[in-house]
Symmetry: C2
Subunit: 361 residues, 2 copies
């Protein structure tokens, strides 16, 4: 097991990752000591992973809510369902929530914990690659609004993160691949050397070689923890982790939540963000195509849907990252280093949206 500490003063916490953690009842009981616990999961995850967690914590687990799977479940109605259940189970200020699942479960459970009684503790037990390398670390919690993704939420750090890499073995292929998009993102925005590491291990990753996957999770958590520790509430540099997300959120939202997996939308969004970086003269065509090749090698989509330009522009204007001054984009200054740009013109955006990856033309 690897343990990493995210240093945030009194909100610091540990990120544990390793094989078999969800099966280790003693470890779970050591980490999760509250006397009243409420668990949230989804149907797919519960089928594989609920039993050992419930068995380990049965003395303190007073209730659970199992949601249907999918991004469209991350909404205010289900949030209200969680609140109703917390009230019914008598979860007080010294109770805690457990989020057993992927990014959807982690985000909605985290926001419920942030708001219940103005904030109680919660534990992230991420079971998807996306959640293990990204969503469960850093304290961003939210639900979606019909007008946009994650429009309603809070910064609320978990009490700890327990990432069992064995859980990744039960993931559907499509979901595992989608998680690799966020893995690549970490490399592109902050760690050029990690990109080379990924290129060398593309086949091993695709085949989910356990050791490769475990090391990959740890490296992503290290990158993310360093970025978050420097800028917890995303007042500045943390926003580089949104690379590909401004485009990606449009793909998810305008495509109808649930059609594209978040990671898939981020992959196609990163392709556009790479092209924008190239148009700005920050990276070469060959560098852009090198990154696209890695995504394609991992079977990630690099071609965004052909929405009308007006759809793109309207959805982007509604995105949280927009200000009344205009849109903010994350672009690469070079491979392995991202920067924020507030000065992208509508024409530059249109040029970017007109572009098609070579293999897809």
């Amino acid at each position: 097991m690897h343990t990493l500490r995210l240093e945030l003063g009194e909100r610091s916490y540990a990120i544990h990752s390793g094989a078999g953690l969800l099966q280790d009842a003693e470890f779970l009981r050591q980490q999760i000591r509250e006397k009243r616990l409420f668990l949230v999961s989804d149907e797919n995850v519960a089928r594989h992973h609920l039993a050992p967690v419930e068995a380990a914590l049965r003395k303190s687990l007073v209730g659970r809510l199992i949601l249907p799977p999918g991004e469209q479940e991350k909404n205010l109605d289900n949030l209200k369902q969680i609140f109703d259940a917390l009230a019914a189970c008598g979860i007080g200020r010294d109770g805690a929530l457990l989020a057993l699942g992927g990014g959807v479960v982690g985000d909605i459970t985290g926001f419920a914990a942030a708001s219940w009684q103005r904030g109680i503790r919660f534990y992230q037990l991420p079971t998807t690659l996306l959640a293990q390398v990204d969503a469960s670390v850093g304290g961003k919690t939210a639900v979606n609004h019909p007008a946009g993704k994650n429009l309603i939420g809070a910064f609320h750090q978990p009490a700890c993160v327990i990432a069992d890499t064995d859980a990744l073995a039960t993931l559907p292929d499509r979901e595992f691949r989608a998680g690799l998009a966020e893995v690549i993102k970490h490399a592109l925005v902050a760690d050029r050397e990690f990109l080379t590491w990924l290129e060398r291990r593309a086949q091993a990753l695709k085949q989910r070689d356990p050791e490769t996957v475990a090391e990959c999770v740890i490296r992503c958590c290290q990158i993310k923890a360093a970025v978050v520790a420097a800028d917890e509430r995303e007042l500045g540099q943390r926003a580089i982790l949104n690379f590909g997300h401004t485009f990606g959120h449009v793909i998810e939202g305008a495509g109808g939540y649930g059609e594209w997996l978040h990671g898939e939308a981020v992959a196609a969004g990163m392709a556009l963000a790479l092209e924008l970086s190239r148009q700005l003269g920050n990276i070469e065509v060959a560098e852009r195509d090198r990154c696209l090749s890695l995504m394609m090698a991992l079977a990630l989509p690099v071609l965004a849907p052909d929405f009308p330009k007006s759809t793109w522009l309207e959805w982007m204007a509604r995105d949280k990252k927009s200000t009344s001054e205009g849109l903010r984009f994350v672009v690469l200054a070079e491979i392995g280093r991202a920067v924020l740009r507030d000065d992208i013109s509508e024409q530059q955006l249109r040029d970017t949206l007109n572009w098609r990856p070579m293999d897809c033309q």
Copy 2:
């Protein structure tokens, strides 16, 4: 105009109080500079105070929501309405919300601001005595859940507080009186000398003498600001401001939100908390009755409803201040100084609930 600063590091803000502030367009424009503003108010308040605020800020005010009046409106459905309106008006991260009204409007608007895009700025423009002396200062925001008051919320400090004491002239008598309960609370928990001041000015207060009321508002804000600055997130001592509220929340909730005004319920709750303090041997009968006399002089209720004991105990157990270990009560250690007690037995509670104020026996 008096200006007080609440010192909370990067979340510090000013509390302005004085006569005519809502009519002072230039002052409002100086304080509220965001380019996209959304206003929330209620029908009663809007009738009296919306026009000058809208006129002053018309260039930046892009939308508004006017709720029906009353505590029962502080719910998740109306919160969702606010989110829908914010999305429709395109309020982004650099927009801001205005809460023009009493505690209900301030609490729900503050929570909307805390959650929208994970937190945007908001302004408290309190128009009731309760909101000016208590609810608008300190960053507690929330909505109610059928299971209890303020169960869903956040700590989110306003960008500033603008308390126009002229607004108090338009308050219905009952609401003004209810606000005096929180005024008395400030004296009881933190300022013995202020209690004497209130006793001497009971008639002037009841008749809403403008200078007396204005001084009263400032003194309460000073007390509250000092308590909040020392313990923003209520990890400890700030909880003394909940004096009377554990009982009071039962009266509001079990009585059906809207039947009792919050301040009325707090007054009857403080009567019980005073009796509990006496039973613990902390204050004398004469001291308890001195406080009851002041409340009665200000026409505040001191007799709680005669709910079955089981109703009291169930509602208290669900209150946010409860833990799985038991209930936490705020009691007076002496007049002008409150302390927290975790060790009140069920028998002590029953004895307290059996007590009736002398004049009501």
